[in-house]
Amino acid sequence: MLRNIKISQAVDWPTILMYIVLVIMGWISIYGASYDFEHPSVFDFDQNAGKQLLWIGSCVFICISLLMIDSRIYDVFAYFIYAAALVLLILTVLFAPEIKGSKSWLVLGPVRIQTVEIAKFATGLALAKFMSRYNFRLKGFKNYLPVLLLIITPMALVLFQKEAGSALVFLAFFLMLYREGMPGVLLYLAGCCVILFIIVIKFGSDLLQPTADSIGAILAVFFIIITQLGFLFVFTKNLKQIKYIGLGYVFVIVIALVVNLIIPVSYLYFLAVAMFLSVLYLSWLSIQLRAKPYVLIALFTIGAVAYAYSSDYLFTSVLQPHQQMRIEVLLGMQNDPTGAGYNVNQSKIAIGSGQFLGKGFLNGTQTKLKYVPEQDTDFIFCTVGEEYGFWGSVLVLGLYLAFLLRLLHMAERQRETFSRVYGYGVVSIFFFHFAINIGMVLGLAPVIGIPLPFFSYGGSSLWGFTILLFIFLRLDASRLEKMR
């Protein structure tokens, strides 16, 4: 207990300062978003801005309490907290009333909490606890399985709450796993899956004339070829072979172009032949050089083509038209004026209309007149964009980047695996929320309804993010204790 006195010196003040600035900026945005031209009232506790002020006030106590608590308690009680969070999630699935199509609110008398917020830091703690076991290495099925179970269990329970967006947040822990030793290629392969899917669906129906080739298919092939050559470089460093294979592709493309000068023949035929030859050649190289990576890259090529083809087949032949429509809206291909497309469209109008200087505090018409739905929760960044324009938006993005980089720096400086794993979990979750939320509002990411930390209105999420952060700040503050 004696060491508690030193907390005020050991705690990372830059982070706390950024936290305070973000919360204040968030509150101003909420005030702006819920301001009503007809009934202007500054501190009305029935209004969202007034309520948020109460939540912020309560956070002061949470912060101080969390900093006072002995940091060892998290190590000791990590599994217990995780189990309790799972119980709450189960209770939520069982008993939560359905609000706006989701069952994520657990109502306890006058208090309503979103249990997923608790599950986030609980999962972070549990992962930290498990991965800080003596001699733990992220290798082999035996070690991966418990880690994946720790992540997937709360994720599945959240899915049962019909909160797909919040469930996806748990995928953020894979960033932390990457730092803890998960092969980067897995992360990259996951990225490839997403990119290939988007390319195939988004450009699949655009045809290149006169051969009527699907532009989506051609782009997918080029993406696969570039990835194949990239893998060759990373895993074999055999520049000579990369040159040969690359020249082979160029040769085939030149032939395809020449042939098409005379008679239109599908480019895809040429590309398919070229890729088939590359697979044969890589397999032959693998045997010849007795090196496994070549055959793996050949397998990747076959797998990627199969994946792209089946994505297209799944989309066009298996999915119902209304399901196709939802995906198209998500990818911004369809303007659905009533649904998600409308939201993003109005959100872009709000931000775009802010121009360089913005319209000024409380002057945003797009948000005040409620053209942007969910404007004080998921679409809160619209208010920033509309009222403070480009400079305000860049300021907020810059502050977030600084905040994330600071957390990253802090996570890496931990001497204990427990603190480091937890720290990386925290960074990953904040980053995921930030990237998806802003991307959605700017029309760059799919419409996945998750809050922007410290900005979006809502007590549960503010508390959840505050607890998530301050547990880490407490752990960080005691990183030097072991030295003494």
Partner: protein, 612 residues
């Protein structure tokens, strides 16, 4: 434990974060800096520019009597996505509509997403009474709103042609003048059209804030950016509404025109086009229906006859010829020509009626001798001093034009006809250059043949004679409140005839009234000068024409009356002109002439009436 390889992954993650932020900043640049359409889109979302319609300028007569003013009218607007289920029968009762018609109105509205949250015009021009009934119940019909408009209201049921009417602008109007928007009103004819720019004022705008459901959330910037409408300018017309009304009564049952002008100014005192209609018929919701009925009427009540009807001027034209012959020194007032019941030259014969023979100029006008003017015209056109008939004719034509014939007078109305005076070229084309003589075109001597005039040109002739040689372009607007009338209306237009030549001609017109063809036009103690005329009508009975001014010295009124299919000028046109002048100069009709007034008021000469 520390794994250098894994520590580097921190940098990979930091790199990913930075790349994402850079991408977002690029997107912000794209949205906020390179794309002005978002700003426009946001403004069109949020701001509802509600037009504030100005009051249209009022019109007064020359004695400051109010003629045209505005009454409030109400348009029903509907915002489709705010409409909730309501009692259709109750609504229709309130606005006096049948339920099926109301449903057809609703179905006609565009239903696209873009229209559903903006107010659309459902029903225009409710009367005050209908509005009062509806307003009580409006709270029961969410989504329905009232838009204030104004309609024209008339104090007197007359002067419909002169005043003109106001109607909804057409596509052509909107394309020609970007002041107008669909649904606006504008003057369609008469003074309303010619003085549209003065009367319409300037629309204002009220900027309202509209939320995502189209609900109004108050004024933008508390109305500081609003523009108040500017009312139209009031007009004082030169019309004497009592005289106008009297003229319309006299012309009842007759087809024709009356135009009265104040010679000293060119101001139009009365301008009757008969048959006429009540100007209120072309206002409001019944406008379209009534317009169609008037338009389909075979007697053409919509035709503005004083400005547009084309007649040969007949004997009134002799007066012009008398003046030109004197100016050209073809004759003097003492010149006499013989008349053997007409003009005979070889096989050509122009008939004349019975009158004392061998008349001088005064007598020729007094008795309207045809032969006198045939002789006169031949003497002029075949005169060697011009070198050729063609040259002589050109001199004659230019003189005629100087009296206001053959071209538009420049009245302040949108639809004036120029009449027709042929030039030498026309005859060259018909007969061949050099192969026509005075006798070829002799009928123009007595105002027949190729010459064509309008009633207002004939009235203007009367004014030019009354003024002894000059005229002002006739006009109906005397004064524009806070504005100026066109300076052309202050500019004297001189005829080519020297003032000294007018005395004998005027004496002839005076004698026609005292002891000649125009005796019916005499008024006690007023020296009336007049000239009868008959316009030949190949389609039926001749048109009756009378032209006059009074008093002889310092004339106050010049008038022309045309009555179609009424025969000789003295029978119908003369009495009407005379009664008009008496009414204007004396204020009332002498009881001794009551019989004449009654005959004029009660006679129906309409083609349709004559069949019975």
């Amino acid at each position: 434990m520390i794994d250098k390889h894994l520590q580097n992954r921190k940098s990979v993650l930091a790199g990913i974060m930075m790349i994402i932020v850079v991408i977002y900043v690029l997107q912000l640049i794209n949205l906020q800096i390179f794309n002005p359409t978002y700003k426009e889109h946001a403004d069109s979302n949020a701001f509802l520019n509600k037009t504030q319609y100005p009051a249209r300028g009022l019109m007064y007569d020359r004695n400051e009597k109010l003629l045209v003013y505005n009454k409030p009218a109400y348009d029903i607007m509907v915002v489709l996505n705010e409409v909730e289920p309501f009692d259709t029968v109750d609504f229709c009762k309130a606005v006096n509509l049948s339920v099926p018609f109301f449903k057809s109105l609703i179905n006609k509205l565009p239903k696209d997403k873009g229209y559903s949250y903006i107010p659309q015009l459902l029903l225009s021009q409710l009367s005050v009474e209908e509005y009062a009934v509806l307003q009580e119940k409006l709270f029961k019909f969410p989504g329905f709103y009232i838009q204030n408009r104004t309609l024209r209201e008339y104090t007197y049921p007359c002067a419909a042609h002169a005043l003109g009417s106001v109607g909804e602008v057409s596509k052509t109007n909107i394309e020609a003048d970007d002041y107008y928007r669909s649904g606006d009103y504008a003057g369609m004819n008469g003074v309303e059209k010619h003085y549209e720019k003065e009367l319409r004022g300037k629309k204002g705008v009220e900027i309202l804030l509209r939320d995502y459901r189209g609900r109004i959330k108050g004024k933008y910037e508390e109305g500081e950016m609003d523009i108040d409408p500017i009312s139209g300018k009031n007009l004082t017309l030169s019309l004497d509404i009592d005289l106008q009304m009297y003229g319309e009564q006299l012309m009842q049952g007759k087809v024709g025109s009356v135009v009265a002008i104040e010679p000293a100014t060119g101001e139009i005192l009365a301008m009757v086009s008969s048959p006429s209609f009540n100007p209120s018929d072309l206002v409001g919701r019944q406008r379209t229906k009534n317009f169609r009925a008037l338009n389909n009427d075979p007697i053409k009540p919509l035709l503005d006859r004083p400005l547009m009807a084309r007649y040969p001027p007949g004997s009134t034209f002799k007066v012009v010829n008398s003046l030109i012959f004197k100016e050209e020194e073809i004759i003097t007032p003492a010149t006499r020509f013989s008349c053997n019941n007409g003009f005979v030259a070889g096989r050509l014969r122009v008939g004349c009626h019975h009158h004392p023979n061998n008349l001088d100029l005064v007598g020729s006008i007094q008795h309207s001798c045809n032969a006198y003017y045939c002789h006169g015209l031949r003497a002029m056109l075949d005169n060697k001093k011009y070198g050729s008939t063609e040259n002589a004719f050109t001199v004659w034509k230019d003189a005629v034009v100087s009296f206001g014939f053959g071209y538009k007078l420049g009245v302040d109305f949108p639809n004036e006809n120029r009449g027709y005076i042929p030039n030498a070229e026309v005859y060259n084309k018909i007969y061949g250059k050099g192969s026509w003589r005075a006798l070829t075109v002799i009928s123009i001597a007595i105002g027949q043949g190729e010459v064509i005039s309008t009633p207002i040109q004939t009235a203007n002739l009367a004014a030019a004679i009354a003024n002894r040689g000059y005229w002002y372009p006739p006009h109906i607007v005397k004064h524009i409140e806070g504005g100026k009338i066109d300076s052309m209306y202050y500019k004297k237009r001189h005829t080519v005839v020297d003032p000294k030549h007018f005395d004998s001609t005027i004496e002839g017109m005076r004698m026609a009234v005292v002891a000649g063809t125009a005796r019916v036009a005499a008024i006690d103690s007023v020296e009336v000068c007049g000239k009868t005329g008959t316009a030949q009508n190949p389609h039926g009975k001749d048109h009756s024409i009378f032209m006059a001014f009074a008093p002889k010295d310092n004339p106050k009124i010049a008038i022309a009356v045309f009555v179609e299919n009424a025969g000789f000028g003295a029978t119908w046109a003369g009495p009407i002109a005379s009664l008009m002048m008496e009414k204007y100069l004396k204020g009332s009709i002498n009881p001794k002439r009551k019989y004449l007034e009654d005959r004029m008021l009660n006679t129906n000469l309409m083609p349709s009436a004559k069949k019975h």
